[in-house]
């Protein structure tokens, strides 16, 4: 058993009173290494035509089945107690990344390290501990809750599965924290009797009841009314403040991410194009895609003459992924063959200040990578990109 496990138990037992602050203990344990989850080269590909007939036809033709490159080489770190945002258009792979973090998908390639161990190798008790520590909140509280289960059953279920003591008290405490008060009055209600905001609070209570280390929240407020959103958001903020939880916040709404997150990653077609402290990125985006994404956000002020960067067209083909930069077809700053042929690396740039990484050839690598040396050797690029890998590898 690792240190963290013991510590988690302490946190669990000590945390029975709401407001007890476990962050002190947590901080001690995390000083040497405050990275909670490390994602390293994560790839998740989905087969497009996986039916029996398609398989047969592919075998006859000697072709590999086609793959959607939903997530295609993503690396980042989630630090203890931070809120990390992942932003991008529909289909950029942000949800797939989030679900892989919670081990709801098995990666095609790459690894996710939780507490230093690859989660792919976790089995038995280890896996069970991980499942308790990684929770997920989904977008739609109308679909993510079982309509046949009462509020109490919904929240107590994780405790029953993991055989925790003091179930009733824990459920009561979780509901109270989530703002469903008085909790006993909600025990016997069904999801359909709750409003949208209350349902999402219920989903949060269920995620929290097991005292997780981190929560993946996938568009947790996009289905809620504007006047109720802030309430749910402040709940998420209190989770990080009071329990030292880490949160991965997935959304296409950059104004919300700016409000919520310490650091953000901008994804495009399965890759991170820019990543770093939220304020740096929102106030001074460097990647042309980040800039378009920020400029596309409407401003609630009729006087603002918002500058519109023309980003026409849609996200490219995630099956036959283009070589070079994936954004090249929509990019206004396209600078020639280097963009067409060489996949930009997500790295520190010599001419970009601050703590951020950008994947764009407009800036000069601070890590000694010379993309121009690779122009004309498209094959080498394809290998390093990994897109030529046979899907049968996993």
């Amino acid at each position: 058993m690792t240190d963290r496990d013991t510590e988690t138990d302490v946190h669990t037992d000590g945390g029975t009173e709401t407001g007890a602050d476990p962050t002190g203990e947590r901080a001690d344990a995390s000083t040497d290494d405050d990275v909670l989850v490390r994602v390293d080269g994560l790839k998740k590909h989905f087969p497009v035509d996986s039916g029996l007939v398609s398989d047969l036809m592919n075998t006859i033709r000697g072709e590999d089945s086609k793959m959607v490159h939903a997530v295609d080489g993503v690396s980042f770190e989630l630090r203890a107690g931070e809120t990390f945002g992942i932003a991008g258009e529909s289909g950029c792979g942000k949800t797939t990344t989030g679900m892989s973090l919670a081990k709801l998908y098995e990666p095609t390639d790459g690894s996710i390290y939780y507490d230093g161990d690859d989660i792919a190798n976790k089995t038995g008790k280890d896996l069970s501990t991980f499942r308790q520590n990684a929770q997920m909140i989904f977008q739609d509280p109308f679909e993510s809750l079982n309509p046949q289960m009462t509020v109490y059953d919904t929240v107590v279920e994780p405790l029953r599965i993991h055989d925790r003591p003091n179930q009733r008290a824990r459920v009561r405490r979780a509901l109270e924290f989530a703002g469903l008060r008085p909790p006993d009055q909600f025990f016997d209600q069904y999801p359909h009797e709750l409003s949208g905001g209350q349902r999402q609070r219920l989903a949060i209570a269920r995620a929290l009841v097991i005292d997780p280390d981190f929560i993946v929240a996938d568009e947790p407020v996009s289905m809620l009314d504007v006047s109720l959103r802030a309430g749910v958001l402040s709940l998420l903020e209190r989770m990080t403040d009071e329990f030292g939880l880490s949160v991965v916040y997935i959304s296409h709404d950059l104004s919300l991410l700016r409000h919520m997150c310490d650091r953000i990653a901008i994804m495009y077609m399965g890759k991170i194009v820019e990543q770093g402290p939220t304020e740096e990125i929102i106030t001074n985006p460097k990647h042309p895609y980040t800039r378009s994404l920020i400029d596309a956000v409407p401003v609630p002020d009729p006087h603002s003459q918002r500058e519109r960067v023309e980003l026409e067209g849609e996200v490219g083909d995630a099956i036959n992924v283009p070589s070079g930069c994936r954004f090249k077809g929509r990019c206004e700053e396209h600078i020639g063959p280097v963009c067409d042929q060489v996949t930009p690396r997500l790295e520190r740039k010599a001419d970009v200040e601050g703590g951020r990484e950008v994947a764009c050839h407009l800036y000069e690598s601070a890590e000694g990578f010379d993309p121009y040396a690779e122009v004309g050797t498209a094959d080498a690029d394809a290998d390093s990109d990994g897109s030529a890998r046979a899907p049968g590898d996993d």
Binding site: H259, E279, A296, D301, L311
Partner: protein, 346 residues
């Protein structure tokens, strides 16, 4: 005379528990060529209002009072045959969920043709020319006309809906949450199209949304609805710069602005009232930080202030009491959100 005059409109739904007063005495006008925004939360009656205007209320919905005058003609009295004539030809609609609004078993072209043929005896060539023109206008590839809805992405479907709503050159377009289902990039493209169409045509538009930023970018005038009633109405600039209704102030402060760092997002505590049996007096009183005893006793008066029409008892006090603190979260935590705070401090 305004193109559309809505006067004291009441739209109710029959349910097992009695009538739900979804729209309860709403009056406003839309001038020729004007873009009006209707803003409010779910359940405030904004979509019901649109359905009543175009005449597609569900079976249990009915107009319980008031008038809808379109160019002087009262539509609440008009027979279904007349409503059908006007629908799409004069008043069209861009629905929120284009996936559900489009028929999955017909091609996009067939569906637009059907709308044309229901109203005009145009030749095939003329119809086709018109469809081509619309596809160009909304930025869709003409070749894709023979595709089925499922072959389109969400953004393309929404464009197809817009093309369809414009094809007969209606005088009034009702856009019900036209961009809510889309991500920011698509939303931006659709808003841009809507702005272009507004400039190019003389049609009036009514944009219904909960997204105050969308309204800020597309509308000349704004109606803020709450619990089936109008809370405040006036020019967009005045509504955003200096609203006088506490609800408008709250809604504005609840909305994140990407241009602002360290914004304190507010959550308006409590819930909208039950519209089976709405409370007497001001319907927002229960959630309002400025509410006094008179608010839950008497209906708020209509007050003309700062270029706005505002329904509030405390218009005179808002500058001193609420406006300076409206952007602070604690101001609005008068109900369940206040409990949140108490618990955290324990």
């Amino acid at each position: 005379m305004a193109m559309l005059e809505v006067e004291d409109l009441k739209v109710y739904y029959d349910t097992a528990e009695g009538a739900v007063k979804a729209v309860d005495g709403v009056s406003f006008e839309i001038e020729e060529g004007e873009n009006l925004g209707i803003v409010g939360e779910s359940g405030c009656g904004k979509s019901t209002l649109a359905k009543a205007l175009i005449g597609i209320l569900p079976q249990n919905g009915y107009i319980a009072g008031g008038e809808i005058r379109f160019r002087g003609e009262d539509l609440t009295e008009a027979p279904e045959r007349r409503r059908r004539e006007l629908r799409w030809d004069e008043i069209s609609m861009i629905a929120q969920s284009a996936m559900n609004a489009l028929d999955p078993v017909y091609t996009i072209r067939q569906q637009i043709l059907e709308a044309i043929e229901a109203h005009h005896n145009w030749s095939r060539t003329k119809s086709q020319e018109r469809i081509d023109e619309m596809f160009d206008l909304v930025g869709l590839d003409r070749e894709r006309q023979t595709d089925y809805p499922h072959q389109f992405s969400g953004g393309m479907r929404q464009r197809a809906m817009i093309a369809m709503s414009l094809v007969l050159e209606p005088s009034l377009i009702l856009a019900d949450e036209p961009t809510t289902a889309l991500d920011v990039i698509m939303q931006d493209q659709i808003l841009k199209r809507i702005n272009e169409i507004q400039e190019a045509s003389s049609a009036s538009m009514m944009v219904i949304t909960h997204d105050v930023a969308v309204v800020a970018e597309t509308c000349d005038r704004v109606v803020v609805m709450y619990a089936g009633e109008i809370a405040e109405e006036g020019p967009a600039a005045a509504i955003f710069d200096e609203p006088y209704h506490p609800y408008t102030l709250g809604l504005k402060s609840a909305f994140p602005n990407i241009r602002e760092a360290d914004q304190d997002l507010v959550s308006i505590g409590g819930h909208p009232p039950d519209l089976h049996d709405p409370p007497t007096g001001c319907r927002f009183a229960e959630r309002c930080p400025m509410a006094t005893e008179v608010c839950s006793r008497e209906d708020p008066p209509e007050v003309e202030v700062g270029g706005l029409r505002s329904y509030c008892h405390h218009v005179d006090d808002i500058d001193t009491q609420l406006r300076p603190v409206a952007d602070r979260a604690e101001t609005w935590q008068n109900t369940d959100a206040a409990d949140d705070r108490g618990l955290a401090d324990d």
